[in-house]
């Protein structure tokens, strides 16, 4: 992998560490209030300062990392599963099914992400009766992000499956009696896993961006949870007097997107060289 790719790997690892051990690194919990020391700028006790309720901004940003990354990784896993299944079936089923299936995907692909995410998560939030109230919006958002992200993966998988099914080894497997499920699961998918995983790695920053955008406009993550988008929106309101409040969550999003892009690009370049 290229040096830039390794920088990406290192940064993603550091980020995961902050997400997991944020409270311990900050020395205090993300929701501990200390009104007497509200809106203190960055200093030795709180090195990213405190917010309007005297909560430590570093601990809040680390907590935001946990929420943002959890949502992004969870929705990407969902998108990966849906995309591989849909694309695999479309690719194997032949033109009669393939055509209509891909048309449907084209429609979803053309609509703006955030629009579909907002509508889907509103509808899901209203219908997810089984999930406890506290987690319902979170679950709805993960499902909605996954429900948008699978489209690109399905297109990619379908194209790769169409290519692979012409290959001799697929023909050989079919001639010894492998059914469609076995053909896809045992023979085709393991052979096309590389580019699919590289595409999934690039879905993660897209999900981080979409989640923070939706949360920033107030339609995503809701209290008591806070993602970077929520923190940035809070900071935006007080931007003039306390710019550090928006600066730190913004930097966190920027660093995350950059490191995942570097990682994804590194993976892709490596695959291109191998293939």
């Amino acid at each position: 992998m290229s040096p830039a790719g390794w920088v990406g790997v290192f940064l993603v690892a550091a980020l995961a560490l902050v997400a997991v051990a944020g409270d311990r690194l900050a020395g205090q919990s993300f929701d501990r209030q200390d009104i007497a020391r509200a809106l203190e700028g960055p200093g030795s006790d709180h090195w990213m300062g405190t917010d309007a309720l005297g909560r430590d901004v570093f601990a809040r940003t680390a907590q935001g990392a946990r929420v943002s990354l959890l949502v992004a990784v969870g929705s990407t896993a969902l998108a990966l599963g849906l995309g591989v299944a849909y694309g695999g079936i479309a690719g194997l089923a032949g033109p009669r099914w393939d055509g209509p299936m891909m048309r449907a995907v084209d429609v979803l692909y053309a609509l703006p992400d955030v629009l579909v995410i907002v509508l889907l998560s509103e509808a899901l939030n209203a219908t997810l009766g089984v999930v406890p109230d506290l987690y319902r919006r979170l679950a709805a958002l993960v499902l909605a992000l996954g429900g948008v992200g699978w489209v690109g993966i399905a297109r990619l998988v379908r194209g790769l499956v169409l290519q692979a099914r012409e290959e001799l080894w697929v023909e050989a497997a079919r001639s010894v009696g492998a059914g469609p499920a076995r053909l896809l699961g045992r023979h085709i998918l393991p052979n096309i896993a590389g580019p699919i995983l590289a595409a999934a790695a690039l879905r993660v920053p897209a999900a981080v961006l979409a989640e923070s955008t939706v949360s920033f406009i107030g339609l995503g993550i809701q209290p008591p949870f806070a993602s970077w988008g929520v923190l940035a929106a809070d900071g935006f309101a007080a931007m003039r007097s306390h710019p550090y409040l928006i600066a730190f969550p913004s930097l966190a999003i920027f660093a995350t997107l950059l490191s995942f892009h570097l990682l994804g690009e590194g993976l892709r370049e490596r695959l291109e060289r191998a293939g």
Partner: protein
């Protein structure tokens, strides 16, 4: 070509019909009706209100009158802005969004294509590396971060340009720049990739082998074909601009459709939400149709493949 146009246009209409049906379905499925109050209204008033909005009729009839309304450009009354139709709200806010979008589109296309061409033609040089790094930074900055930075730096600190509202041409600059950044960087990446790809094609090698001067090879063969590919970004580009407009219109206090959409979702003003959705879908579908037709007109191979489908 005529057959191809007819097929694509029919498909576009079909997509719009599906979106309209889906929005109608969501409108009826979503709980939390428009007239839910803290205190329950007397049943006879609820009945009157439902009769006023046609909610007492059978579902099939409601669907028929909804579709009929959409065809006439009537998207129903807003639940929140009493006495105003969704169409009025859209008629007021859409032009603002279109102005902002057109400015951003021009910036993103002009900037992205030129950066991509320069970078792709000088592959591997210092200038190319710098531009690649710059576009990587560009796709990593969310619009609300860039917008906030511009408001703080250019509007509040330097006091060069207004940092909000929508009153004069100068008010367009900062939001348009914020909206254009992400698509500009994306287009630069895609254009660079397609220049590099085209430069390796056989017809470029043939042209060089014939002794065509390098300058002419680049302009005639590489540039033209790479630009042809850039037409295909138009659809995704529009989707990106629409997504960005939700945030940009909010932070710069621009009275466009994106901002109405956000407040309408918060207010559960579903007719407005779904009316705006329908307008967005129509914009995207029409843009994609134009792109397909333009592409088929410019590239006969697509036309032939499209007809045989």
């Amino acid at each position: 070509m005529i057959r191809y146009v007819a097929v694509r246009a029919a498909q576009a209409l079909g997509v719009l019909w599906i979106v309209a049906t889906a929005t109608f379905g969501m409108l009826r499925l979503l709980p939390g009706g428009p007239f839910d109050r803290e205190k329950a209204l007397p049943p006879e008033i609820v009945r009157n209100v439902e009769a006023r909005y046609g909610l007492d009729q059978p579902l099939a009839q409601q669907y028929a009158s909804y579709l009929g309304g959409v065809l006439r450009g009537d998207l129903g009354p807003s639940y929140k802005y009493l006495g105003r139709d969704v169409s009025d709200v859209i008629a007021e806010s859409l032009p603002v969004s279109l102005q902002l979008g057109a400015a951003a589109l021009a910036l993103a296309l002009a900037g992205g294509v030129s950066v991509g061409l320069v970078s792709g033609m000088r592959r591997g040089r210092a200038l190319d590396r710098g531009l690649v790094m710059l576009s990587l930074l560009g796709v990593s900055v969310p619009s609300f971060v860039l917008g906030a930075a511009l408001i703080l730096g250019v509007a509040l600190y330097l006091d060069w340009l207004p940092g909000g509202l929508w009153e004069s041409p100068a008010h367009v600059l900062l939001p348009a720049l914020t909206l254009a950044a992400l698509p500009l960087a994306t287009i630069a990446q895609l254009t660079r990739a397609s220049v590099i790809e085209v430069a390796q094609r056989d017809f470029v090698r043939t042209a060089r082998a014939k002794g065509v001067p390098e300058r002419v090879v680049r302009r005639r063969h590489v540039l033209r074909n790479a630009l042809l590919a850039s037409i295909t970004y138009f659809g995704p580009l529009l989707a990106m601009l629409l997504t960005g407009s939700f945030v940009v219109e909010k932070i710069f206090a621009v009275p466009g459709m994106g901002r109405f959409f956000v407040t309408a979702v918060t207010n559960r003003d579903y007719p407005l939400v779904l009316g705006v959705t329908l307008v967005y879908a129509a914009l995207v579908v029409v843009a994609n149709l134009i792109v397909d037709l333009l592409y088929a007109w410019l590239d006969p191979r697509i036309r032939v493949r499209g007809e045989s489908e």
